[in-house]
């Protein structure tokens, strides 16, 4: 056992660090978001791709470099350490790209993956509908064969980043008479196509990252179908498994990582009474311990992946624990603001923890709610009986496959 970098890993890390450091000025500033900075974020991703730091695990022929899962993690760690904000195309890289790699045609991979890696084309995920959330197989968007392709009509919701996206992967019903998991097909939707309307939705943070997406009789060529007709559920599972892997972690990606909370605690401790100091340290320690456990559980998954083994249930364990952790860290950070916790921002205008606190309920919903993750673990790992489900489909596999 060893959690240190191997010599090869250490060398790789040094290369990555050197590249980020040499190009830091060209990258989006720490703490910024794509909101109002879309071009900066597209350029950031292109610069990172030039250095081989985006989609590193993808095959070289499609713009990746065939890197190992460990190397991908090293890249992520170094980007986090340099406080580079999350990629504008993280959903494309994390979820849409893997779906195309696994289920798409060679032509699709050649057409879409490279521009995706460089954020020349930004992608979103068109899954949830007003009537299909946790029960994703209830999707009712309709795709009907017509001419050279398909005509799609319907509505999606909670679509992150749709306002700046060029493409999305769209789950739609192609056979309303088939059992519900069998009648679905996955498509690429051109977000700029006639008949597509994007309407932003404001979240409880005050920002509008989410959108409603409407499409009314929009033409999708058959060459933009991902996987076979009726196989959309299998493609969706690939995406969801990658999403759960992408959204897991220790809170760092939301700005609420162990270093951030440690520095807030250290700043505020001297202002607290001894009793409150003890209480704050106790809660900080509980959060730090959980974050450490999340990292080490991820290390177990990485070790398995790096040796070509299928990881165990660690992926789902990590997502579940991380969502609960984020809420706890966010609340500690907020409470430590003292009387300023009564306001939406501190007297000097800082709203870091207010924002994270308002964001944290979303982490327990995105990529499978906490309750859905518990069902998956209970059924696929502990072997407990399934929930009643129309059509008798099983829950998705617990691990990223």
């Amino acid at each position: 056992m060893d959690i240190e970098d191997s010599p090869a890993e250490a060398e790789f890390r040094a290369t990555v660090r050197a590249y980020i450091s040499a190009h830091r000025d060209e990258l989006a500033p720490a703490g910024s978001t794509p909101m109002g900075n879309v071009e900066v974020f597209r350029r950031t991703q292109a610069v990172l791709h030039d250095g081989g730091l985006v989609g590193a695990t993808w095959p070289a022929e499609f713009g990746g470099r065939g890197a190992s899962p460990i190397e991908k993690v090293i890249i992520d760690q170094e980007l986090a350490a340099a406080r580079v904000p999350r990629l504008i195309n993280w959903i494309g890289i994390g979820m849409c790209g893997p779906a195309i790699l696994v289920h798409g045609t060679r032509e699709q991979a050649e057409r879409y993956l490279r521009p995706m890696l460089r954020a020349e084309e930004v992608w979103c995920q068109l899954f949830s509908e007003p009537g299909a959330g946790s029960d994703l197989a209830a999707v009712s968007s309709r795709a009907v064969r017509g001419g050279d392709g398909w005509r799609v009509t319907g509505q999606k919701v909670w679509t992150t980043g749709a306002q700046w996206c060029d493409y999305g992967i769209l789950l739609a019903r192609t056979d309303p008479d088939a059992p519900r998991h069998r009648g679905l097909t996955m498509f690429v939707l051109d977000m700029k196509a006639p008949g597509v309307t994007v309407r932003p939705l404001r979240e409880m943070t005050g920002e509008a990252l989410f959108n409603e997406v409407f499409y009314d009789d929009v033409l999708i060529p058959d060459s933009d179908r991902i996987g076979a007709e009726g196989e959309g559920w299998a493609v969706a599972i690939t995406v969801l498994m990658n999403e759960r892997y992408t959204v897991g972690g220790d809170g760092s990606v939301y700005g609420a990582g162990p270093a951030a909370i440690a520095s807030t605690v250290a700043d505020r401790l001297p202002e607290l009474s001894p009793e409150r100091r003890a209480a704050a340290l106790d809660e900080f320690a509980a959060c730090w311990t959980e974050a450490l456990a999340c990292r080490m559980t991820a290390n177990r998954m990485l070790t398995a992946l790096s040796q070509g083994r299928q990881p165990g249930p660690e992926g789902s364990v990590g997502k579940l624990a991380a969502a609960q952790l984020l809420g706890r860290v966010a609340d500690l950070g907020l409470r430590l603001q003292g009387p300023d916790a009564l306001f939406g921002a501190s007297a000097d205008g800082d709203r870091t923890w207010q924002y994270i606190a308002a964001f944290s309920p979303g982490a327990a919903l995105a990529g499978g709610t906490t309750e859905i993750m518990k069902n998956i673990l209970g059924e696929r790992v502990l072997g407990l009986p399934g929930e009643p489900r129309p059509g008798g489909a099983r829950t998705p596999a617990a691990t990223k496959g």
Binding site: V265, A285, M296, V317, K374, L382, E387
Partner: protein
């Protein structure tokens, strides 16, 4: 990055699993509570397995992680084993001490020929005459009547002292909450003792051994949690209500998953803490405290879930569930409670870089 057990450790785990299945403490625990039996002592068999001397510092000795692997399997069967008090605490306290008393005791301890206890000192003081006065905290394996190691106060600062088994100390018997830990306070009244180390040497040695014992205790708790989850899941699959196995209801299923998440997260923390005890001594105290704090919470949650999942039958004396619950109620307070452990994590983590 290589965060997994080695092939040798997996083989050791299998051997230990079989060993403790054969030397289970579960039935004995109930009979000791009922006053029908004495506490089992698997000391000799464990010594034969090589488990007691893993940290003795010999050339062929093992690692803290090896010991943790064995301890997890002991915890699964609520074994009244000397793994925490002897293998994880007394042995690292004695290893490398260059006195005849210490090296003789170390050899006997690893051979399983003597009982040993390590006691948190309470108000124990070393007199100018070289004898001990005072009463220890409740000590693991204290009821076994063996030699005692403790950290006494003295005019020259803390002193690591050894009291022979037959030196005249009094073992204070109390009704057990969990019989398997053999807990008892020990009272000294001008009891002869041998000083093994004093001052900084004594406190440094004590602190390192304490951290190792903490990790071994957390590893035993990991096994107890794992077995509690396994038993609760098995019952939830078998027991039907409203025409379905109760494990199919989210109300039950989600409790079981929460216990399982504790198990897997704790496994990660125990591995890290055990590995660091050998490989990263500077960070070991932080990871040991983190694993122990997490273990204290996890074992309470998992064993309560075990009782609750079983419904009324789980609340009976005849059922084993309360024996797991008893282990949890005691273990969560040994070597510091969850708040003591978190106080340490909080203090150390403020300036630490998470690996």
């Amino acid at each position: 990055m290589d965060f997994q057990l080695s092939e040798e450790q997996i083989a050791l785990q299998d051997v230990a699993r079989d060993f403790f299945a054969e030397h289970s403490g579960i039935e004995n625990a109930r009979r000791v509570l009922d006053g029908l039996e004495d506490l089992l002592d698997p000391r000799a068999e464990l010594a034969e397995l090589g488990a007691l001397g893993l940290l003795a510092g010999d050339d062929d000795a093992g690692t803290v992680l090896d010991l943790a692997v064995v301890a997890e399997q002991a915890g699964r069967q609520l074994s009244p084993s000397p793994l925490v008090a002897t293998a994880g605490w007394a042995v690292p306290l004695l290893a490398g001490l260059d006195t005849p008393a210490a090296s003789g005791l170390l050899a006997d301890a690893t051979k399983g020929t003597v009982a040993l206890t390590v006691a948190e000192p309470g108000d124990v003081a070393l007199t100018a005459a070289g004898t001990l006065r005072g009463t220890t905290q409740p000590a693991l394996d204290g009821l076994r009547g063996g030699a005692v190691l403790t950290l006494a106060s003295s005019e020259a600062g803390p002193a690591l002292v050894l009291v022979a088994a037959d030196a005249g100390q009094e073992i204070v018997r109390q009704q057990p909450l969990d019989a398997t830990r053999g807990l008892a306070r020990i009272t000294f009244a001008d009891t002869p003792a041998t000083v093994l180390a004093t001052g900084e040497a004594a406190t440094a040695r004590w602190a390192r051994a304490f951290d190792i014992a903490t990790v071994v205790l957390a590893a035993e708790d990991l096994g107890t949690i794992s077995e509690a989850v396994r038993r609760a899941v098995a019952y939830a699959l078998e027991r039907e209500a409203f025409g379905r196995p109760i494990g199919g209801f989210q109300a039950i299923k989600h409790h079981l998953v929460e216990a399982y998440v504790y198990e897997e997260q704790l496994r990660s923390l125990v591995w890290l803490a055990a590995w660091a005890a050998d490989a990263r001594p500077g960070e070991a105290p932080l990871y040991a405290a983190a694993a122990a704090a997490y273990a204290a919470e996890g074992i309470e949650h998992a064993t309560y879930t075990l009782v609750h999942t079983h419904g009324g039958i789980g609340f009976t004396w005849e059922h084993d569930a309360h024996l797991f619950w008893r282990r949890a109620k005691v273990d969560r307070l040994l070597l510091g409670d969850v708040h003591d452990r978190r106080a340490r994590v909080g203090e150390l983590a403020l300036t630490a870089v998470m690996p």
